[in-house]
């Protein structure tokens, strides 16, 4: 696959590039980044656009196998490229869970058949995600898993957590943790604070996340293994990571766009598209996340893309499943809330979305250096984007419905092939049924 991307503003934080350059991809890999390249290959004119290493999402729920009514590997990866992602890490909480080689191989095979971007499976930490005994981590690694996680639930047993860290360190892969104390959370559906009190909804205290983060950074210190904390959402968790990092603990972490952008007070609408776990937090927590992103404590922005069917979300707030989709909106939301709001600059955002995820999970990509994967995202910083259903994703449970944003990915190139081009949509998204309306 050969492609010449011309006249774009190339931002590659991995080599501190930021300038008007051309990018030549040959045989699916980056051949050269230079001024005015001449090559007799297909050209993509990126004049006025930004060209970056392809985005990589460390936290995606593709739902296949088992919950194809919510999303499939095909639709989830189509949503990914529509958001500028060239690779996603598929979480293990499928049905059956990805706790054995056969499931990993199925995911990889289906992604090769019908995927629009690269898919890196994340294996389970424990058999059946039950938190009782280790899954066959070496076999999972051998089959292609890049990390292990029981995401969706915490690893409640501290001994199991310690052993998982030790064992995974032998396999050179991180243990990814979802930090939540189920007892502190009992029945909780939103952040515990003034608004949970006002709405009479059961709260999820910040301490629920913070107590487990504190435990796990201590275990990471003990084992010298690589701990990666998923979807950090509280000030205390950011502070724990900051302190552990400065003490030399091998801990990395990610934050999700919805936690960066939104507050618990929005739940006053009772919209089930604002229900996720961890929940939207109060403003002091959000401020701490922004500070963590600005000072580098937070390594990565990951979407926690969690598609659910319309029917599953069209119920009382208490009864709705946790989770929101995020692949298609992540860049636009982060560009609005982080770059346009001057928390960080654009190269730092590109780093958070591409170089840093590659580094943290030790994945190929995340750079435009010669010889690396020909995975490139092209962004139009001025393109208006009103978030609305239908999405490319099968699901429409977005926390940002109705938001008017500016700046979005307009083309996504995977291995030198254009897999998404806003100017020439490859496939028509399926029309969605609108909710029934009564005459007024």
């Amino acid at each position: 696959m050969n492609l010449l991307i011309t006249n774009g503003r190339v931002i590659d934080p991995s080599q501190e590039l930021d300038g008007k350059l051309d990018v030549l991809i040959e045989d699916g890999r980056i051949a050269r980044v230079d001024r005015k390249i001449r090559a007799d290959v297909e050209a993509f004119d990126a004049d006025g656009l930004v060209v970056t290493p392809g985005f990589i999402d460390l936290h995606t729920h593709l739902r296949e196998p088992g919950q194809e009514h919510k999303e499939t590997i095909a639709t989830g990866t189509r949503a990914a490229v529509a958001g500028g992602y060239t690779a996603v890490c598929a979480m293990a909480n499928t049905i059956p869970p990805n706790d054995e080689r056969a499931v990993t191989e199925m995911i990889i095979a289906e992604a090769a058949r019908n995927g629009s971007c690269r898919v890196y499976p994340v294996g389970a930490v424990s058999k059946g995600l039950k938190g009782e005994e280790l899954a066959e981590l070496a076999d999972l690694r051998g089959a292609g898993c890049v990390a292990v996680s029981d995401d969706g639930k915490p690893v409640w047993n501290a001994q199991l957590m310690r052993r998982a860290l030790e064992y995974a360190s032998m396999l050179d892969m991180p243990v990814v943790v979802h930090e939540e104390d189920a007892h502190l959370n009992e029945g909780g559906v939103m952040h515990e604070g003034y608004y949970s009190t006002l709405l009479g909804l059961a709260g999820i205290p910040a301490a629920s996340e913070e107590t487990l983060v504190a435990r796990d950074v201590i275990l990471a210190q003990l084992t010298r293994a690589h701990l990666h904390i998923a979807h950090l959402s509280t000030a205390g968790a950011v502070e724990s990571v900051r302190a552990a990092r400065s003490a030399g603990v091998n801990v990395t972490c990610e934050a999700a766009p919805h936690h960066i952008a939104l507050l618990d007070e929005a739940v006053q609408s009772f919209s089930t598209n604002l229900k996720m776990n961890p929940p939207l937090r109060s403003s002091e927590h959000r401020k701490a996340l922004l500070a963590g992103i600005a000072d580098g404590t937070i390594d990565v922005i990951a979407t926690d893309h969690a598609p659910h069917h319309f029917d599953e979300k069209n119920v009382e707030f208490d009864l709705a499943p946790f989770g929101v989709i995020g692949l298609e909106t992540a860049f636009s939301v982060c560009y609005d809330r982080l770059v346009r709001s001057k928390v960080i600059d654009l190269p730092r955002l590109v780093e958070l979305l591409s170089c840093a995820p590659a580094r943290v999970f030790r994945l190929p990509g995340g750079t435009l250096q010669a010889g690396s994967l020909g995975d490139v995202t092209v962004i139009d910083l001025d393109a208006p984007y009103t978030v609305a259903a239908p999405f490319v994703s099968k699901a429409s449970n977005s926390a940002f419905l109705g938001e008017k944003l500016r700046g979005r990915a307009v083309a996504t190139i995977v291995g030198g092939r254009i897999r998404f081009d806003l100017r020439a949509p490859a496939a028509e998204p399926q029309p969605k049924k609108a909710p029934k309306k009564h005459k007024r």
């Binding site: 515990e192 604070g193 003034y194 949970s196 009190t197 006002l198 709405l199 009479g200 909804l201 059961a202 709260g203 205290p205 009772f270 029917d311 069209n314 119920v315 009382e316 707030f317 208490d318 009864l319 909710p435 029934k436 309306k437 009564h438 005459k439 007024r440």
Partner: protein, 315 residues
Amino acid sequence: MRTANSALRSKDLLGIEQLSPEDITLILDTAEGFKEVSERPVKKVPALRGQLVINLFMEASTRTRVSFEIAEKRLSADTLNFAASGSSVEKGETLIDTAENLMAMHPDMIVIRHKYPGAPKMLAERLPASIINAGDGGHEHPTQALLDAFTIRERLGRLQGVNVSIIGDIAHSRVVRSNIHLLTKMKANVTIAGPPTLIPMDIERMGVRVVHSLQQAIQGADVIMMLRIQLERQGKLTFPSLREYYNTFGLTPERLRGAKEGVIVMHPGPMNRGVEIASDVADGPWSVILEQVTNGVAVRMAVLYLLGGAHMGGE
């Protein structure tokens, strides 16, 4: 044609939070007129003749359901009672489907009681009928707060400056939230009391004083409102035993000795005698508990009338 203070501005009554002090006064003043209807030999006015009101009670209720039904009948509305048990809800039908099906039969108003916060709002956003919240989880119970206010106003002549202490399971109570909204809007002073395990986070931001002693709550109060302790919470780490609860927060005649002259004791019901309130208090001279029930009908008539009137106005 309506004047500004002859009807509520909104289609629905979802909570007290959205009401203005003028709305509240309008409802209470209207209820005064309706209270008199209930004292007539023929307890009926034709105000809602031809209107269909569905009472959609998805959670157990005696007082509120009966009170609404009586209010509807005294306004000459056609009423239909719907309970979750024995309905297609037991077959797994969703709330929205149930409500849409009922709506297809063109009710003018739906009174809903539901286990989960926000359920009335879900219906209000989707259905053209007026939705009245008869209690949604731990969120709001607006007609209870209105009947409480009616009772306080009738007894003490005013709401402004009245000291109201609300004691008990604050965390799980919809009654307390609606009362706090109403009383603070009407410039009463609200104290809440209970063990810290039953006080939700940051409730002070709703404009109330928080104490953890029954004596402190009683002192200086014009109104003492006791809340039901949900027996099923015993052993759920919120308090050690009903015995200990009664010993620390149960309202007894002895403890009322520290109260102001003329204090009134309220309870939204159902009561647990010997848990949060001694029978000598519940049945004693301080108690206005049965007056609250009587006033409930008048207040609900007022709410139905004001929303029904708005509906007839063709908005």
